[in-house]
Amino acid sequence: MKTKTVEFNDHVVRQFVVASVFWGLIAMVVGVLIASQMAFHVLNFDTSWLTFGRLRPLHTNAAIFAFVGNMIFAGIYHSTQRLVRTRLASDFLSGLHFWGWQAIIVAAAITLPLGFSRGKEYAELIWPINIAVVVIWVVFAINFFWTLAVRNEKSLYVAIWFYIATIITVAMLYITNHLQVPTSLTHSYPIFGGVQDALVQWWYGHNAVAFFLTTPVLGIMYYYMPKAAERPIYSYRLSVVHFWSLVFIYIWAGPHHLLNTALPEWLQTLGMIFSLMLWAPSWGGMLNGLLTLRGAWDKLRTDPVLKFLAAGVTFYGMSTFEGPLLAIRSVNALSHYTDWTIGHVHSGTLGWNSFMAAGMFYWLTPRLWSTKLYSTKLADIHFWIGMVGILLYIASMWVSGITQGLMLNAVTPDGALAYPNFLEVVNSTKAMLHMRILGGTLFLGGMILMTYNLYRTIRSGHPATASIDVQVPEIPPKEGMSLVAGFLNPPVLYSVLLVVFSCGWGFLTGMASTVSLVLLVETAIVAMIHLSVSGKKWNDWYEKLLESWLPFTVLTFVAVVAGGMIQILPAVFIKQTAGEDAPIQVVYTPLELAGRDIYVREGCYNCHSQMIRSLVGDVLRYGKSGRLTESQYDFPFQWGSKRTGPDVARVGGKYPNIWHFQHMMDPRSTSIGSLMPAYPWLYKQLTDIPALTPKIRVLTGYGVPFPPRSPEEIRTAVLDQGRLITDDLAKNGIKIAPDKEIIAVIAYLQQLGKATPAAPPAAPIAADAVNQASTQ
C-alpha cells in the first residue's frame, strides 16, 4: 500500500453553484411575472415573446433544468469525489458538461419566448437542443461512471446509488419522449400521437419529477444531512429500502396524470395504486432524514443550513403525501385541471428543491471559498420569508383549486350545472391569484437575499483546494463483481426461477399450471433452506454488489425498464378500445394544421385542455366525454393539464368566426373577466404555407391519411379555406387577408370536436392507424 494525496476538482462545483443561483433567480423572476399575468392580463403587454403561453415553459424549464439541474450537478460532483475518494475522472469532460449545459439553457431562454416549442410540458425544447441535451448528459454519465471506475473506495454509499438511478433513468425517459422527426431546423413532430403521446409524455413528465427533482436531491440529502448534523444517517438499512422502493414504484405511477380521461381504465387504476404505494418509501426516506438530526435538534435554532435541510425534507414528506392523495381517482376528479395541482408542484419545487438547494449552498459556499458565511442573520431572514412565501403560495392555490373543482363539478338538484359560466369560477378565485403573487414575491425576495449573502461570502474568501490522503494498493484491485457474476448467483437465480414459475402458474393452464405451482413452492422452500444454511454467501453477494457499479447499474436499469414497459408497450395494443361507437377524428386540412401548429407555438395548452373527462361536470359543460380515436392524428397530443380557461375539445362550431376573431384580438370584448392575453400579432403575421409541405409529408409517414397534394395544391387549399372564413368575417364588416395567422387559428378551432360518426365495428381502420403511427 502507498499513500497518495487526492486533490478534488472543486472548480466545476463552484461553477455549478454560481450558475444554479443565477438561473434560480431568473426562473423565479419569470415565475412572479407569469403569476402576475394570471391576475393582471395587461402584463402580457400584447407582445408575443412576453405572453403567458410562451413564458410559462420558460419558467418551468428554467426552474427544473437550469436551477435544480445546476444544483444537482454541483452536489453530485462535490459529494461523489468525497464518497469515492478520488478526483473527477476528467477535467475536460467536467468543463464540457458545465459549459454545454449553460449553452443549452441560453438556447432555451432564447427559443422558448420566440415560440419555438414542441408543445409538450417540460419537453418544449426544439430538436436541435434535445440532441445537445442528450450529448451533454452522455458527457456527464461518462465522467461520473469513469470516476466510479477509478475510485479509491470500494463500497458505494447510498447517495451514489441515487445518482446512478438518476443518470440512467433520465436518459431513458428523455430519449423516449423526444423521439421525433424534424420538418425544419426549428420544428418537428413527435413520433407518438394521441393517447400514445399522452402516455409517453406523462411517463416522462411524472418521472422527470421523480428522477430529476427527487432522486438526485435525495442523494444530496443522504450526504449533506449527515455532514451538516455531524452524525451518520439514522438508518442505513432504511435508506437502502427507500432507494429500491422508489426505483421499483415511481416509474409505474405516470398514468395518474390521466385519470378520468379516455385512457384505458386498468392503466388508470395501475397508476393510482402505484402512486398510493409511494407513500411508504417516501415517508420512510423523510423520517430517515429528519431522525438523522436526533440529538442535534437544538442546532436548528442557530444553524441556517440545518434549518433549510430539515424544512426541505419536511416539505418532501408533505408533497409526497399530497401527490398520492391527488392520484386517488375521486380526489383527482376534484383537483385535476385546477390550481390545486399548481400548489402541489410548488410545495415540491419551492419547499423541497429550493430549500434543499439553499441548505446545500449555505453549507458548501464557505467551504468552497475557504471562508465563513457572510451573514447567518441574512440566511435566517431568507428562511423565514421563504417559508411564509411558500405557505402563502400553496395555501392560496389549495383554496383556489378546491374552489374551482367544487364549482366546476357542482350540479343542481335538477341535473344542470350550478355554475354554467366558466368565467364565474375564474372570477371567484381572483383574490387567491393575488395572494399567490405575494407568496411568490416573498420567496423571490429570499432568493435575492441568498444571492447577496453568497456573493459577499465569495468576495471575502478565495477558491479553496480540498484534498485527502488515500491508501492505494500497489496493484489496483479488481472490481468487486463482474457483470456476469452479478447475475449468476443464488439470490438472483432463485428470484428468476420464482418469477418464471409464478408466470407459469398464472398464465398456463391445466397440468402445466399445476406443475408450475408445485415448482414455485419447492423453489421457495429450497431458497429459504439455502439462505438459512449458507446465509453468509448471500451477504457476500450483496456486499460485492455494493462494490460493483456495473452490475448495480444494470440491476437498477432492469427495474426501471420493467416499470417503463407498462406504459409504452400497452399503447401499441390499444386498438380494441376503438369500440363500435367511437367517433373517428377528421384529418386536418392544411389550413387547420397550420392553425394547430400556431396553437402549439403560443402555448395554448398551458391554459386549455382538449380532453373531456368522464365526469358529470365535464360532460354537462363540454359535451360527450373524449374518446381515444378523437385525437389519434394529434402530433403532439394537446390534452393539457390545467384549465385556466375552458376545455376546447369540442369548441368547433360553438361560436361564429367573428366571435373567435374578436376574442383573440381582445378576450374581454367577448368574455368579461377573462384572464386570457390578446394575440394582436396573429392579425399581422402570415401563415407559413411552404412549411406545410414537409409537415404533411412527415405526418403522412406516421400514417395520417392526408390526401396527396403538391405544394401548389396545399397553397390553394389554404387560401380557399381561408377565403371562406374571410368572406364570413366580411359580412360583419371585417376585412382581412386569408393568409393571416388568425385565419388559420380560427379554422383549427372551428374544426375541434368535428369527428365522423362511429366506425363500423368490423373495420377499426383508425385504430390501425394509431398503431402504425406509434411504430413508425
Binding site: S155, V241, S245, W538, Y542, E543, G563, P570
Partner: protein
C-alpha cells in the same frame, strides 16, 4: 382454492411480467440489504463524515 388468472389481452400480460421482474429485483436486493453485516452498515453510514484537508 386458486383461480386461474385470465388475461384478456397482451396489455395485462405485459403488466404482470413487468411487475414480476421489477418486484424480483426489489425483493432480492432488499433482502440482501437487510442481511448486510452490522460492521459494513456502520462503515457505510459513516462515509459522509470523513474529513478532508483544505488550503
Amino acid at each position: 382454492m386458486f383461480y386461474q388468472v385470465a388475461f384478456a389481452n397482451w396489455s395485462a400480460l405485459v403488466t404482470a411480467i413487468a411487475f414480476a421482474v421489477s418486484f424480483c429485483v426489489f425483493v432480492t436486493v432488499v433482502i440482501g440489504a437487510l442481511r448486510c453485516s452490522p460492521g459494513k452498515v456502520r462503515r457505510l453510514a459513516e462515509m459522509p463524515l470523513e474529513e478532508e484537508k483544505t488550503s
